[in-house]
Symmetry: C2
Subunit: 260 residues, 2 copies
């Protein structure tokens, strides 16, 4: 319980950063990418693979330099993606020392951790809608918290016992309802014109938050680790805490780009 | 020799398709992606992994539907990328039957084969510069052919004996010069205003063509196969023939977008 409270306190600086927005938020996205990538690659090391940490870090660094220099320039981001995948392949050129899995896991770390979490920066740099970053956090964390409590109170039928033994249908439904309610409340009080959009994102975001959580569980099971890290007391690493956020951020970003 | 001539004849329909351009060329890019992905995944199967063919094919199909519906829409392409990587991860949900490598190789096939070769379609749909597809082919194949002959005539010092034992420095230099000369000739006769750009792409394209060739060699060595396939007599599969093209196409596309 004490560690849970401590972990809760860790969220305070996060809220301040989200409130400040702009470069602060882009910096936070960068840090999530950096620490998340390290944790993700360490997980692969646990399987006996050796992802190219240096390629991953360099790719992350280049992406954020691009973003600072030319915000939300998608042609440059596609170029970055091409070069990152290519660099992961070039890593194989020292052919005796490296396994195919080393190259492949390097690339997947970039695509999953760096690219997914980068959508936080894309939202932060969206001129009119950067406020939507709140919806990302609300959908992610409301799903998490409401799923926890409704699973605890009403849960019996297991959702996917093989993948994540503790999850129940009651938790999934409660988490989804909680997300819709909290996103709706945010919409009602902060951006009433967009209430319907907030409710829709509350629903879709909750689904993707849970998919993100389960994906992270699947990765960790296969990597043979319980948590990605020990950074946050009682909550594991950055990737344990933000596994939903990095899945919800893209959903919110594309929703606000194509629908709102 | 007979098979080489046969293989040469196989290039004739390719030239017709490039001449026709437009939907024909986009269709050709789709086929390269489709057959290339199959060959690439088969290579992983040879290592005991089971990439999700269905996820890869579906991802390819969706990408080309997007391109036909909204050509060169980069936000949609980023969304496609997010969903494709995510779908590869979801493949793990049947957790008993699937290995982490199955998901990761699924994603890398999409990023490498489908995304790289898709730049052919991006070039085909570039209103003013779709002619640059010729430069992609000229740089790729001139590098290949000139490297072969100059390696044969002058080669002794090995380029990277561990990775690709037959390649020589003479071949690499001859291939690069051949690409510059052929791209320059194309520029001189067809688009004289752009001669300098053609020469630069001749140089840069030759470097990436050879990196593409070596990357494919590295993958094949690790997969334990000599060729990706047997589609083209004497030339292996689509991926053996187009390993340079799928690396040069992005280079040409980003060059023409940012520099020309």
């Amino acid at each position: 319980m004490k560690t849970r409270v401590l972990a809760g306190l860790c969220m305070v600086p996060l809220l301040v950063i989200v409130y400040l927005g702009g470069y602060w938020l882009i910096g936070a996205a960068f840090l999530i990418g950096l620490i998340g990538l390290k944790e993700f690659y360490e997980g692969f090391k646990n399987m006996g693979f050796k992802p190219a940490f240096i390629v991953g870090y360099l790719s992350l660094f280049v992406l954020y330099v691009i973003q600072l220099w030319a915000p939300n320039n998608f042609t440059l981001i596609l170029l970055w993606m091409f070069l990152s995948v290519m660099a992961s392949g070039l890593y194989l050129f020292k052919i005796e020392d490296r396994k195919l899995e080393d190259a492949v896991t390097t690339a997947i770390g970039i695509m999953y951790v760096v690219f997914f979490s980068f959508h936080i920066a894309l939202i932060a740099d969206s001129p009119d809608l950067s406020i939507m970053i709140w919806i990302v956090l609300i959908a992610s964390f409301a799903t998490d918290i409401f799923a926890y409590f409704s699973g605890y109170l009403f849960g019996n039928k297991k959702l996917c016992p093989n993948l994540s033994p503790k999850k129940t249908w009651a938790g999934a439904i409660g988490g989804t309802l909680g997300s819709i309610i909290c996103c709706g409340a945010f919409g009602y009080f902060v951006m009433p014109d967009m209430l319907v959009h907030c409710l829709v994102i509350g629903l879709v975001g909750a689904i993707f938050a849970q998919l993100g959580d389960l994906t992270a569980s699947a990765f960790k099971r296969k990597m043979g680790i319980k948590d990605y890290g020990k950074l946050i007391p009682g909550h594991g690493g950055i990737m344990d805490r933000f596994d939903s956020v990095i899945m919800v951020a893209p959903v919110v970003y594309y929703y606000m780009t194509f629908v709102m």
